[in-house]
């Protein structure tokens, strides 16, 4: 019965956390990335090149209960031929403590420009995926994700 007891207690705590996340509560957070940091992180990758919307698809659930592990797939519409392929995919976020999520270097040998992984989200926020094509043009897409239980900020026991 001990396991039952702890599971109930855990569920109670989790429910409490979800409720706390739903109402605006002023809490002490570690410094967050800001939209300005997001822009500078993107500029670090793309330089001065223009970033156009399109070609990139970002599959991520619009509502996630647990920000500690959020499945994400990025795919780029590209013929993946020797003259027209995707060099790399870069994923960013708006409000985690750090704006970068991951860089994925693909190249012509991939055949298909698609990558999946699992990410952490510390808050409800925008996720941005940018693809660099073989002609060094940049294409992007963004998605808004609502997170009920945030990652990164909890205490360690």
């Amino acid at each position: 019965m001990r396991t039952m007891h702890t599971r109930r207690r855990f569920l109670g705590l989790a429910g409490g956390a979800a409720v706390a996340g739903a109402v605006p509560v002023v809490t002490l957070r570690p410094s967050q990335a800001t939209p300005a940091m997001l822009n500078s992180a993107i500029r670090n990758v793309v330089g001065e090149a223009p970033v156009r919307a399109g070609k990139v698809t970002l599959d991520i659930p619009p509502l996630v209960e647990n920000g500690n592990t959020v499945p994400m797939t990025v795919r780029v519409a590209s013929p993946m031929t020797a003259t027209d392929f995707v060099k790399s995919i870069h994923v960013f976020n708006e409000k985690n403590p750090q704006p970068n999520i991951g860089n994925f270097y693909i190249g012509v040998s991939a055949g298909r420009a698609q990558v999946s992984t699992r990410i952490r989200l510390a808050d409800s926020q925008k996720v941005v995926a940018i693809a660099r094509l073989s002609d060094d043009s940049f294409w992007s897409v963004s998605a808004d994700v609502v997170v009920t239980l945030a990652a990164c900020t909890e205490e360690v026991n």
Binding site: P30, N68, T69, V70, T73, N93, N96, P97, Q98, N100, I101, G102, N103, F104, Y105, I106, G107, S109, A110, G111, R112, A113, Q114, V115, S116, T117, R118, I119, R120, L121, A151, C152, T153, E154, E155, V156, N157
Partner: protein, 106 residues
């Protein structure tokens, strides 16, 4: 102890696009969490992953703390020749792990 799980199709036709999946056991401690006492838990993450196909790099990734614990990856490559895939994860505190898989290409 680090343990890896890699999934490469054992057989493929030449020119097929194949999916490769990898999973690596790792805490991916962000460096942004605090203990109840207020101390920062130091960062301990995997920072890079590389996949080589018969010695040639076909996929590489840079990880940041926003990658979830036990990093999972799925990506694609074209089956060119029979041979070996080698996977390498490198991280903080001298973390290094490798795995490999073979493929028959007909």
């Amino acid at each position: 102890m680090a343990s890896a799980l890699v999934n490469v199709p054992p057989k493929a036709k030449r020119g097929d696009i194949i999916e490769i999946k990898t999973l690596m056991s790792h805490i991916m401690e962000t460096g942004f969490r605090h203990t109840a006492g207020g101390d920062v838990v130091p960062r301990d993450i995997i920072t890079s992953f590389t996949c080589r196909y018969n010695g040639t790099e076909v996929f590489r990734a840079d990880f940041f703390p926003a990658i979830a614990a036990n990093p999972y990856l799925s990506f694609f490559t074209i089956a060119k020749d029979s041979g070996k895939f080698e996977f390498e994860w490198i991280g903080d505190n001298g973390f290094s792990a490798t795995a490999s898989a073979t493929i028959m290409v007909e």
